[in-house]
C-alpha cells in the first residue's frame, strides 16, 4: 500500500462543533445523543430513575418500612397511590425507596467489574506473550460461571445481604469487560500513534493508561451500560430468592418476592409494579448501551 488510497483521502477535515450555552446543555446533550425517539426516551427514563434514587426520601409520601396492619392489599386510592402489600406497606413509597438499593447494587457491580476488567485487559494485551495467553485461559474459565450462581455461592459462604453477592458478581462480570478491553487494546496497540508515543520515549504505563485507555473508553462505557442492566436483573433475582437485600429495606426484587403469593390471591399490583420498574430500567439500559455501541462502530468505520 504505497500510494494514496481513496478512502483515506476522501476523509475531510471536520468543522469544529459549536459550543452550546451552559443552560441549554442537557437539552443539547440529549439531541446530540440522537439515535431516534427510542434512545432519547430511554435516556430520559434512566435520568428520571436516577433522580428518584437521589431524592427518594423526599419523594416517597410515606415510610415504606411502616406497615399499616389491617390495611393489607388496599387498592389504589388517594392514601396509597399504588395500593399496599400484604403487610400494609405503601407500594408506591416502597418502589421509590427501592430505587436506591436496586440501582446502587448494579452500580457497585459495574464499577468494580469495569475497573478490574480494564486493569486486567489492558495489562495482558499490552504485555502480550504467555501472560496474555495464561490470563486469557483464566478468563475463559470465569466465563463458564453464571453470575447468579457465583452470587448464590457467595451468599452461602458469607451470608445474606448485598455486599457478598455484589463482590461475587463483580468478579463474574469482570471477564466481559476484560475480554473487550483486551481486544480493543491489542487492536489499538498496532496503531502508529501508539508507536509514536513509544518512539518519543514515554513509559509503557503512561501510554497504556493515559493515552490508549482514553481512546477506548467510549466503547468500554457502552459495554458497562449493558452490564448494568444485566447486573440489575441478576441482583433483583437474588433478592427475589430472598438471598439479597433483606426486608424491611425496600428493594424491587424482594418486593416481587413478597408480592408473588399475593398474585395467586388476585392481588397482583404489589408484584407487578416493581416488576415493571425492573423491565423498564433493564430495557432502557440495553437500548442505550446497544445504541452507543452501534454508533461507536459507525464512527470507527
Amino acid at each position: 500500500m504505497n500510494a494514496p488510497s481513496s478512502t483515506m483521502a476522501d476523509r475531510r477535515a471536520d468543522p469544529p462543533a459549536p459550543s452550546p450555552s451552559r443552560l441549554r446543555l442537557p437539552l443539547v446533550w440529549l439531541r446530540r445523543a440522537g439515535g431516534g425517539w427510542l434512545m432519547r426516551g430511554c435516556l430520559l427514563l434512566l435520568a428520571l430513575f436516577v433522580l428518584i434514587a437521589l431524592f427518594a426520601p423526599w419523594i416517597a409520601p410515606q415510610d415504606p418500612t411502616f406497615g399499616e396492619l389491617g390495611n393489607g392489599f388496599a387498592g389504589p386510592g388517594p392514601d396509597h397511590w399504588l395500593g399496599t402489600d400484604l403487610g400494609g406497606h405503601d407500594t408506591f413509597s416502597a418502589l421509590i425507596e427501592g430505587t436506591r438499593t436496586s440501582l446502587a447494587g448494579p452500580l457497585a457491580v459495574v464499577l468494580f467489574s469495569t475497573t478490574l476488567g480494564v486493569a486486567v485487559g489492558l495489562f495482558t494485551a499490552w504485555r502480550g506473550g504467555w501472560v496474555d495467553t495464561a490470563v486469557g485461559r483464566v478468563l475463559d474459565i470465569l466465563f463458564a460461571f453464571p453470575a447468579l450462581l457465583l452470587a448464590i455461592l457467595a451468599v452461602a459462604l458469607f451470608g445474606k445481604g448485598l455486599t457478598a453477592p455484589v463482590l461475587a458478581m463483580a468478579i463474574a462480570y469482570m471477564p466481559y469487560t476484560a475480554r473487550l478491553v483486551r481486544g480493543l487494546t491489542a487492536q489499538e496497540k498496532t496503531r502508529p500513534y501508539i508507536a509514536a508515543y513509544q518512539v518519543q520515549g514515554h513509559s509503557a504505563v503512561f501510554i497504556a493508561f493515559r493515552r490508549l485507555l482514553p481512546n477506548i473508553t467510549p466503547t468500554v462505557l457502552a459495554q458497562s451500560t449493558v452490564n448494568f442492566g444485566y447486573a440489575l436483573l441478576d441482583l433483583a433475582a437474588l433478592s427475589f430468592l430472598g438471598l439479597g437485600v433483606q426486608p424491611p429495606t425496600p428493594d424491587w426484587g424482594s418486593m416481587i418476592n413478597q408480592g408473588q403469593a399475593a398474585v395467586l390471591q388476585g392481588q397482583p399490583l404489589s408484584a407487578i409494579v416493581p416488576a415493571v420498574a425492573v423491565v423498564l430500567v433493564v430495557v432502557a439500559f440495553n437500548v442505550v448501551g446497544e445504541n452507543l455501541g452501534d454508533r461507536l462502530a459507525g464512527r470507527e468505520s
Binding site: 500510494a3 494514496p4 488510497s5 483521502a9 475531510r12 477535515a13
Partner: protein, 348 residues
C-alpha cells in the same frame, strides 16, 4: 456514437456547499483508452460509478450519462441491469474488498455466468479458465481452486479483471486499479489492461491520481478539479504544454526521474473539499495567475484555447479544451516559471 458519453452531468448532494460533479462532459469511444486524472475530492470516483448508473443516495442529478446509447439518468432497473451485466464492468482499487474471502476463485468467476447466464457448470468453468489465462495468471487450473487469501494483491487484481470480463463488456471502468499495488506489479496490470482493451476493442476509462500513469497508458486525458473537467487533450499535449494552471501545477509537483532537478513548485493550499465553494473558478484560490475580479467572480467554461506560439514539434492542435479565463495568455511552461518566481508563499 461514443460508447460512453457524459453530457453536462451534475450530481449534487443536499448539505454540501458545491455539487460533487458540475457539468461533466466526457466521451470514451470503443477501442479507446481514456484517463480521468484528479486528486482526492475531485469527483473522479463518483464519475466512474455514474458510468454504471450508480449515484450517491439522495443526490440531485442533472444531465445525461449514456452507455452504448442508453441513458442511465432516470433509467429503470431493467436497463441498469442490462448495462451492468452486459455492457460495462468496473475494476476497483482494492481487489480484496470485491471478493468473498471464503469462496474459491473459481466460484467467484463462474457464479454470475451460472446464475444470470444460465450456463452449465462445465461450460462456466471452461470460460473461467479461459479468462484466467487471458489475464496472464501463471497456473490458472490451480488458481481456480484457491481461496482469495492464497493469492497476492497483484494476482487477485488479475482475478478481478477476469471477473469483469465474464460478462463480455464493451466498456471497462478502472478506478485506481493499481494504486494499492507495487510499481512492478502496476506495470504488469496495466500491460494486461491495455492488451485486453486493444484485442477486444474495449473502451477503457482509467481513473487515477497519477498523471504520469495516465499519460503513459492512455490516448486522451481529462483533468478534473473540484467536480469539473478543467482540461482535456491528448497525453502529449497535456504533458508538454499544459494550458490549465492546475494541470501545470500537477506537473510541477511531480518530481522528475531524469533531467534537471530543480526545486518542486507545489500548488499552494489543499484540494477543495465538499464543504467549500467558490463563486468563480474553483481553482482561483490556489492559482498563481488568478486575476481578482475575473477568476473569483465567474466560472470559466471548457473551451478551445487560441493556439500558442510553440515549436511545431510540441504544438498539438488536437481536441484540447481548457476551462480557464487566462488560457490564451498562459501556456504550460511560462506558467510553471511564474510559480517558480514566488517560492516563498508556496506552502501556506
Amino acid at each position: 456514437m461514443p460508447l460512453l458519453e457524459f453530457n453536462d452531468l451534475s450530481v449534487a448532494l443536499p448539505g454540501m456547499a458545491r455539487p460533487i460533479l458540475n457539468g461533466v462532459s466526457l466521451t470514451v469511444a470503443a477501442g479507446e483508452a481514456v484517463a480521468l486524472v484528479g486528486e482526492s475530492g475531485s469527483g473522479k470516483s463518483v464519475t466512474a460509478r455514474a458510468a454504471l448508473g450508480l449515484f450517491p443516495a439522495g443526490a440531485a442529478i442533472g444531465g445525461h450519462v449514456r452507455v452504448d446509447g442508453a441513458d442511465l439518468v432516470g433509467a429503470d432497473a431493467g436497463c441498469l441491469h442490462e448495462v451492468r451485466t452486459g455492457k460495462a464492468s468496473m475494476i476497483f482499487q482494492d481487489p480484496r474488498a470485491g471478493i468473498n474471502p471464503v469462496r474459491r476463485v473459481g466460484d467467484f468467476l463462474t457464479e454470475s455466468l451460472r446464475l444470470t447466464g444460465g450456463w452449465s457448470r462445465a461450460r462456466a468453468g471452461a470460460r473461467a479458465l479461459e479468462l484466467l489465462t487471458a489475464v496472464g495468471l501463471p497456473d490458472p487450473v490451480r488458481h481456480l481452486r484457491q481461496y482469495p487469501h492464497e493469492l497476492s494483491g497483484g494476482m487477485l487484481q488479475r482475478v478481478m479483471i477476469a471477473g469483469a470480463l465474464t460478462a463480455e463488456p464493451r466498456l471497462l471502468l478502472c478506478d485506481e486499479p493499481t494504486t494499492a499495488l507495487d510499481v512492478t506489479t502496476q506495470a504488469e496490470i496495466m500491460a494486461i489492461l491495455r492488451r485486453l482493451q486493444r484485442e477486444r476493442g474495449l473502451g477503457l476509462l482509467l481513473i487515477t491520481h497519477d498523471i504520469d500513469l495516465a499519460a503513459a497508458t492512455c490516448d486522451r486525458i481529462y483533468v478534473m478539479y473540484a467536480g469539473r473537467i478543467v482540461e482535456t487533450g491528448t497525453a502529449t499535449e497535456l504533458l508538454t504544454a499544459p494550458r490549465h494552471p492546475y494541470t501545470a501545477g500537477l506537473l510541477g509537483s511531480t518530481p522528475p526521474l531524469d533531467g534537471p532537478l530543480g526545486r518542486l513548485t507545489p500548488i499552494r493550499g489543499v484540494p477543495m473539499g465538499l464543504l467549500e465553494a467558490a463563486p468563480g473558478c474553483s481553482f482561483a484560490a490556489r492559482c498563481p495567475h488568478a486575476r481578482p475580479g475575473l477568476c473569483d467572480r465567474t466560472a470559466p467554461d471548457l473551451a478551445r484555447p487560441a493556439p500558442v506560439q510553440v515549436p511545431a514539434s510540441t504544438a498539438q492542435r488536437g481536441p484540447a479544451l481548457v476551462a480557464c479565463h487566462l488560457a490564451d495568455e498562459i501556456d504550460g511552461r511560462p506558467a510553471m516559471a511564474a510559480v517558480c518566481a514566488s517560492p516563498s508563499e508556496e506552502d501556506r
